[in-house]
Symmetry: C2
Subunit: 316 residues, 2 copies
Amino acid sequence: MALIEKNLQSLTLPTEPNSLYAPKKYIIESGGKRIRPILVLMSCGLCGGDPKDSIPAATAVELLHNFTLIHDDIMDQAESRRGNPAVHMKWNEATAILAGDGMFVQALLQLQHLPSTVDHKRITKVFLDGINTVCEGQALDMDFETRDNVTLDEYLKMISGKTAALLSASMVMGGLCATQDEETLNRLNVIGTSLGLAFQIQDDWLDVVADPDRFGKRKAGDIYEGKKTFLMISALDSCSESNRRKLQDYMKHLPLNDEQVQEVIEIYKNCGVSEKAEEVSRSYYRQAEETLEQFADSSYKEDISNLINYLKNREI
Amino acid sequence: MALIEKNLQSLTLPTEPNSLYAPKKYIIESGGKRIRPILVLMSCGLCGGDPKDSIPAATAVELLHNFTLIHDDIMDQAESRRGNPAVHMKWNEATAILAGDGMFVQALLQLQHLPSTVDHKRITKVFLDGINTVCEGQALDMDFETRDNVTLDEYLKMISGKTAALLSASMVMGGLCATQDEETLNRLNVIGTSLGLAFQIQDDWLDVVADPDRFGKRKAGDIYEGKKTFLMISALDSCSESNRRKLQDYMKHLPLNDEQVQEVIEIYKNCGVSEKAEEVSRSYYRQAEETLEQFADSSYKEDISNLINYLKNREI
C-alpha cells in the first residue's frame, strides 16, 4: 500500500497545461481503496516474482481505474465522488473529458517503465483487452436503463465487464511480471473474474440489507433509482405476474418514492432474491478461494486470502 | 489509399453492444482525407520497408484521429462533422464519450498486429507521446478561449500539439516499421512537425482569403467565432494601440457581426498579418521539403513530395 501511494503521489506529471493535469492530481489524491494495484503487486509475488517489478503495472491499473471514474461520472451525471465534487462538477464537462483521455494515455505510458524481462506486447494486450471489456460493460449498463427485459445472463455479462474485467486484468498483469506459464495466468484470470462477480453481486445485495452508516451509501439507493441489479432482475424473473407488472410499471416512472421502495423490498423478500444474491456471491468468492488454494504457500497467498476475506465480510 | 480503406472497412469489430460499436462504424465510414495513415505507409516505404508491414500502425493512427474528432466535437459543442451530424448529436453525449474511449482502445490494439520485427514498446511510446501532446494542445486551445494575452510562442506550442504531433507520430511510426536509425527517425519527426505547423497556419490564413466554396468552410468563420488564430494573435501583437483595444473588446462579445468582421479584416490588412501567415506557412513547408530531400530517391519520396505540394496548393 505504501509503495503504491508513494508511486502515485510522485508521478512526475507536468503542471502545464493546468486544465489537463490538475484534475488528474485531484482525483488521484481523493483516495480510493487501491484494490486493483494491490492485486497487481500481490499476484506478482504469488507467482514468485518481486512485487517491486510490477509497480509500473500497478500504477497503470490505478490510473486507468480513476480515468474510468471521471468519464463514468459524466455519463451517469453523478455530482460527487469519494465525498468530493466529481471532476466535471468542479471544472466542467469538456475539461473532464480531456483530463480523462490524458489520464488514459498516462496509464498506458506507465508500462514503458516495466523491466525489460516483461513481455511488453503481451502485458499491453491484457491491459487493453481488459479496458475494452470494461467499455462493453459500461455500454450494456447504459443500454439496460431503457430496457425492461434484461436477463440474468445479460446482467452477468455486464458486470463481467464493468467490474470483473479490470480486476482480472490486474491479477494477470501482476502474474505476467513474474511468469509466462499459461496455467498460472489462467488461474489468476479465474480468481480476478470470480472476485469481481462476487463483489458486484454482494454490492447489489448490501444495497437493501446493509446499515447505510457503515456501507457508506444511501439505503436502497439502487431501488430508488430503478437500477437493473441482480435483485431486481431475479425478482422480475421469479415473482408473481401481478408483482412483475407492478415492478415494470415502477421502473417507468423514476425515481421511486419511499412507499414504492418499501413495496419493492417486500416483493424481494417474498421471492427470496436477497438470499439468492448472497448465495451466488458467496459461491463466486468460494471459486476465487479454491483457485487460490492451487498456488504454492507464500505470504502473498495469505495476503490475497486476507483481502478476499476482507471483501467478503465488509459490512454486516 | 485502397489498402487503408480496405483495412478500415474490414476491421472486425464486434456488433454488440451496438451503442459502443455503431458510432465507430459511423465516423469511420464518414470518410476524411486519410492523410495520417497515408503518411505512415509512405514513411515506411521511404525508409526502405514494405508499406504493407505498417498497415496496423496506419489503421491505429486513423482510428486515433477519429477518436479525437468524436471527443473534440463534444468539447467544442460542434453540431456536424464531414457533413453529417456529430456523434454526440446523432446519439448522445454519454454514448459519444464511451464510443470514443472504446475507439482509443481499438487504435492501440491494432499495434498488436505489427510484424514481430517491429519494436512494440518503442512504437507504442511514440504513439502515446504523440497522443499526449495532442491532449496538451487541446487543453491549451480551450485555455486560450478565456485569455486575451496569448503569445505567438504559445500559439505555436498549441498547434504543435493539436495538429503537428499526430502527423509527426504517424511518420515516425511508419519509419519504425522499417528502421531503427535515429537520424532517419529524427528527420521524419521534423518533416511531420513542419507539415503540421505549415498546414495549420495555412488553415488560419485561408479562413480570410480562400473562396469559401472551394475551401469548404464559412468565409472568416474563425473571426466570427473570435478564435485565437495566427492572424489574430499577430494582429494584436503588431497593430496600433487603438486597434488592439478594439480587437480585445470584440473578443469579449462573441460571436461578431458582419460589420465587426469586416473591420477585423481591415485591421489584418493594415498590419499585413495575412502575408506574414503565408510566409511562415511556406517556410515550414520548405523545411519539410528540404528535410525530405535528404532521403534517397524512391517512388515513396516522390509520393510524399506530391502530397506536400497538394497540401501547399490547396485552394487558390
